[in-house]
Symmetry: C2
Subunit: 386 residues, 2 copies
């Protein structure tokens, strides 16, 4: 095998990863927990080709050639070669890598996680690497280790100095909680993106809350949310998810100088979800926010139509439905007058939410068997170039 | 003496009070530190009159009669009577109280602190109470205890169950750091005010960060900021002040459900101050935010003109200078091209900052001797009524 194409999913943390105890090995300060997004709607796709005729290693990301001399990339390559099956000539050949995402960078969803997971998974196929590869993906981009497996995943912080026990494992499969849906609300935002690598480093150096979180808060939350997911206890799952998102953003504010990923639209979404949950007297929706203003809402399939109708009521939009709704189609539902009357949040200006993307929990990284799907042609050159 | 009129200042915390360990006695979870604002520009003013002919206790706030049956008010009255000089007949008479603030509620500055300090101070004069009265003011409104003294004040959390050691003391006088100025930037905001009493209660119940702050962070900060103020070490003072404000707002976000007093204008002010401090390579300005979006900037007199010019450059306003500038007059200065070029923050929309109020550090509560200043006429009726 000298060519392989793979896809890998995006994942969304419900217990957040923020802060490294070792920057080189990318070892986190605490465990994190994530759901894997369905790879059908949102994924990285990577073709890796090895050939004795290639003069050098090359990589193209989203149609544009990038330097292979990226320390993280080289770190992954070195480990993959060490783990390759002995006697495999392929590891001595140069490789060409071509990778693309099918979701806009504007979505603010961690593309590097899916990207590195896909790259490591694909090269592991090529080199016939056996055993765990999440620890290798971790060295590309921390949360990439959570995009190898599907379903519900735990990234164990590990305790060994060499990081060999800092790996990700699945604790609940795709088929476990099939009613779960995730709505990503992509928020309009014109602020500069604040790098999460820089932010983590700064929080680790200056926020005493971050240390307290890692030492005294997360361990219990991880145990409780795993239990809640295993028991399909939505109430507990939702409360921990929301609290953990809030705590992560609290740490950003406790960092010096402070920074804030949430904007006023994010804050209004938070208020709206609490108002909606209060209306029912129990959590029906959980929000979580990563390093940006976009909301990820976890909820059960049956509640999607009403929640989407409520969002559209508070955040009106002129965008045509075909553009506004992405992923799993949303069934239309009218809001009850009672709900409208009880939600004490004013209608916002038009266009604050760009679009809504619905997905469910899906499988992990996988090989694409159809040869037409390769992103490189027979000479190892991208079929599409920018 | 059967009539007395007093004034009491506003105070601004640089180490924040957030969370009570006893709700009835208003005992805080941690020490706090504040600067007293000059009473000339912003103050509560209260006239208290006692007469054997008054049929009942009465109180007017800002020209409007309110109920005297307020538990906090009654709590203060009870303590003041217990502490009155023996044989003083006045304590058996009913009283009329008339109080007004000379600053708009819109300023979002804790009017209850100045109000209760003034009320307690005035009644203490009438009853010839001797010794500390900050512990009594505390029972009206926690931070009122910091508005009795001038200069720089420490509210000691205390450790006794009856709260008798939870009092405020001055540790640096008005004449100690005369170069210090405070600019309050009053921010336009149309959100509902989120009650600080409710917020504190909720943070105490749900935020593990609040407990960690009280147990492990504040004690050292208090020692260090007192040292910095005593040594006029602006750099250390500024850094602790900003960190403590950020930490308080981080706790609001770590509270469940979360709430946020800072809005996008507040966040832009924070960015602007950090950019300005970075330009000089040392803190020249410290921001602090209470339970609202308005910024309080601490800085030295010599830096006021440039900082105000910078604020006006980034936050343009159409308001006439006579309306826009309140308190100590600001001298006009042009911004250097170098500073303008280096501050990488876009000019904001007009009108985001309503006005700027400049003050310095001033004296505490005091008696007004001029009889024309009484707010009640000879019959004990307010001279001005709404």
């Amino acid at each position: 095998m000298t060519i392989v194409t793979c896809v890998a999913p995006v994942n969304m943390a419900v217990i957040k990863y923020w802060g490294k105890r070792n920057e080189d090995l990318i070892l986190p300060l605490n465990d994190s927990i994530s759901a894997t997004f369905n790879v059908e709607y949102m994924r990285a796709k990577t073709t890796v080709m090895a050939s004795p005729t290639f003069k050098e290693n090359k990589i193209w990301l989203n149609g544009k050639e990038e330097s292979f001399e990226n320390p993280r990339l080289l770190h992954c390559m070195k480990e993959l070669k060490q783990r390759a099956q002995k006697g495999n000539d392929v590891i001595n050949w140069n490789i060409h890598v071509c990778s693309e995402n099918n979701f806009p960078t504007a979505a603010g969803l961690a593309s590097s996680a899916a990207g590195y997971a896909c790259f490591v998974y694909a090269v592991a196929q090529l080199y016939a690497v056996e055993g765990d590869i999440t620890g290798i993906a971790r060295k590309g981009s921390g949360s990439a280790c959570r995009s190898i497996s599907g379903g519900w995943v735990q990234w164990h912080m590990g305790h060994l100095n060499d990081g060999s026990d800092s790996i990700a494992t699945q604790f609940a499969s795709v088929s476990h909680w099939t009613e779960m849906r995730i709505l990503t609300l992509v928020v309009n935002d014109n602020r500069k993106k604040y790098s999460s690598t820089v932010g983590m480093r700064r929080s680790t150096a200056t926020s005493s809350f971050l240390k307290h979180r890692a030492d005294s808060v997360v361990t219990e939350r991880v145990l409780n949310i795993i239990k809640a997911i295993k028991e399909k206890d939505f109430k507990t799952f939702a409360e921990i998810t929301m609290r953990d998102s809030n705590q992560f953003h609290a740490i950003c504010l406790d960092t010096f100088p402070p920074f804030m990923y949430l904007n006023s639209v994010s804050m209004t979404i938070i208020e709206l979800i609490h108002a909606y949950n209060d209306f029912y007297g129990t959590p029906k929706v959980a929000y979580t926010f990563d390093a940006g203003p976009n909301a990820c809402l976890f909820l059960l399939e049956a509640d999607v139509p009403e929640v989407v109708a409520l969002i559209q009521h508070i955040f009106p939009s002129d965008v045509a439905p075909v553009e506004y709704f992405k992923g799993i189609p949303v069934h239309h539902q009218n809001l009850s007058q009672e709900l409208k009357a009880k939600i004490d949040i004013p209608k916002q200006n038009k266009g604050l939410i760009k679009y809504i993307f619905q997905t469910d929990v899906g499988e992990g990284a996988q090989v694409v068997k159809d040869e037409n799907e390769h992103l490189l042609n027979e000479s190892g050159i991208p079929k599409k170039l920018k």
